[in-house]
């Protein structure tokens, strides 16, 4: 059960990051957001 709660949290955080990626105007910050997104997506897909 805890596993799936963590997956839901990861999906929520990834959603926030994507929303922030589109509202953020500074390119450096956008790259940082994209970098953080990679491990979250891999964890949501349960690949890594």
């Amino acid at each position: 059960m805890l596993h799936w709660i963590y997956i839901v949290l990861a999906v929520y955080c990834a959603g926030l990051l994507v929303a922030e990626l589109f509202t953020e105007k500074r390119w450096r910050e956008q790259i940082a957001l994209a970098l953080v997104l990679v491990p979250l997506v891999l964890r949501i897909l349960q690949v890594k």
Binding site: H3, E24, K25, I31, L33, Q46, K48
Partner: protein, 376 residues
């Protein structure tokens, strides 16, 4: 005023596509680790079973693993050999592989689990820079073997608790030890994936009436318990005889007694919970050490590390490292020679019910010709 797409939106879209591409590239590498390794068992193979036979809830999970069963013509005792309890300790896994590919057996039974922690073989430890695989050129061509992490993959068992409470003792360990098979014995059928794996192994030992069980490991050169045989109280005499006989062959193995207050380990719990006489063997492996240099496939196979050479020369630490290198062949040879000595000692104590395992290369031959020469 209607909102229009700005430059930052286009950049965000481009970055999202880059993220997708990175996930595909990285994901393909991680998923490639899920493919099982191939083994070529010797003609003495009677059957291949799986761990889920002993704990059905493991079926379909990445923790389920193969058990190779070898049977001699005549009845006799049963031996269990475990490799890959820690998938980042390749000598244990390769020694078990060599055993199952070369073994001939006259009396008794031998059960071999080359990848006890199968889930751990599907991913490496973070921040270690470990190679995902290593290659050996054998008679049948280049064979690739996976090099995993110390414990079960977080994808299969996640999240880790802050503190790991061992069942049933309640011993407290660091949270990440919850995925360590060699802290999970005796396990339980409704526990975590690692606890269920441990439970299946203990059930196998009980149900198959295993007489002697050997768990093959490696450790960093600076760890005190290295080139050692660790045993439960009931294996003390047998292990002492084995170590003495190895001394006559000019091979030094230290004899360590399993601590009674350190719970969850194979040499403690197998001995306490079942009738088996358990042993655990360790070799010195520089790729696991904190002083190591480049963490490469070459270091894994050759065992030559310049920083350990310097550390050994300075003598400021207790390091068990041969300046010539701790090659994989040498580490596998040590495991097999230790196993042979334990079996000989058992046979001396049980002349009416003894093992006859054959087909394995001699210690010096294996080192000189290389382990790849004896893998199929």
């Amino acid at each position: 005023m209607p909102q229009t797409l700005g430059l930052h939106h286009a950049r965000a879209l481009g970055l999202l596509m880059t993220v997708a591409a990175l996930c595909v590239v990285a994901g393909a590498e991680f998923v490639a680790m899920w493919s099982p390794d191939t083994f070529y068992p010797s003609e003495a193979l009677a059957k291949v079973d799986s761990l889920s036979t002993y704990c059905p809830s493991l079926r379909g999970t990445r923790a389920d693993t193969r058990i190779f069963v070898f049977e001699g013509r005549d009845p006799g005792p049963t031996l269990l050999v475990l490799g890959g309890t820690h998938p980042n300790e390749p000598a244990g896994f390769i020694a078990a592989t060599l055993l199952l590919e070369r073994l001939t057996i006259q009396t008794g039974r031998c059960l071999i689990i080359p990848q006890a922690c199968a889930s751990g073989f599907t991913g490496t430890d973070p921040l270690e820079g470990s190679p995902q695989t290593f290659s050996l050129v054998t008679g049948s061509g280049t064979r690739r073997f996976r090099f995993g992490g110390r414990a079960a993959n977080v994808v299969d068992q996640w999240p880790d608790p802050m503190v790991y409470l061992h069942y049933p003792s309640g011993q407290q360990l660091s949270g990440n030890e919850t995925r360590n098979l060699n802290r999970a014995y005796p396990g339980r059928p409704d526990g975590s994936l690692t606890e269920r794996t441990a439970f299946a192994i203990v059930t196998l030992i009980t149900r198959e009436h295993v007489d002697v069980a050997v768990d093959l490991h490696e450790a960093a050169p600076e760890i005190p318990i290295i080139n050692a045989i660790v045993t439960h109280e009931k294996g003390r005499e047998l292990a002492a005889n084995a170590v003495l006989n190895l001394e006559f062959e000019d091979l030094q193995y230290s004899l360590e007694l399993s601590p009674t207050n350190f719970r969850g380990l194979s040499h403690r719990e197998w001995g306490d919970c079942t009738r088996v006489i358990p042993f655990l063997m360790e070799t010195s492996n520089p790729i696991q050490g904190r002083l190591r240099g480049r963490t490469s496939e070459e270091l894994l196979v050759s065992g030559v590390d310049p920083w350990y050479r310097i550390a050994e020369r300075l003598g400021t630490m207790r390091i068990t490292y041969d300046p010539g290198g701790e090659s994989l062949s040498r580490r596998v040879a040590r495991h097999l020679q230790g196993l042979r000595a334990l079996i000989d000692a058992y046979n001396e104590q049980h002349p009416d019910s003894s093992f006859t395992l054959e087909g394995l290369p001699a210690y010096t031959t294996l080192i000189h010709e290389g382990v790849e020469r004896y893998l199929r």
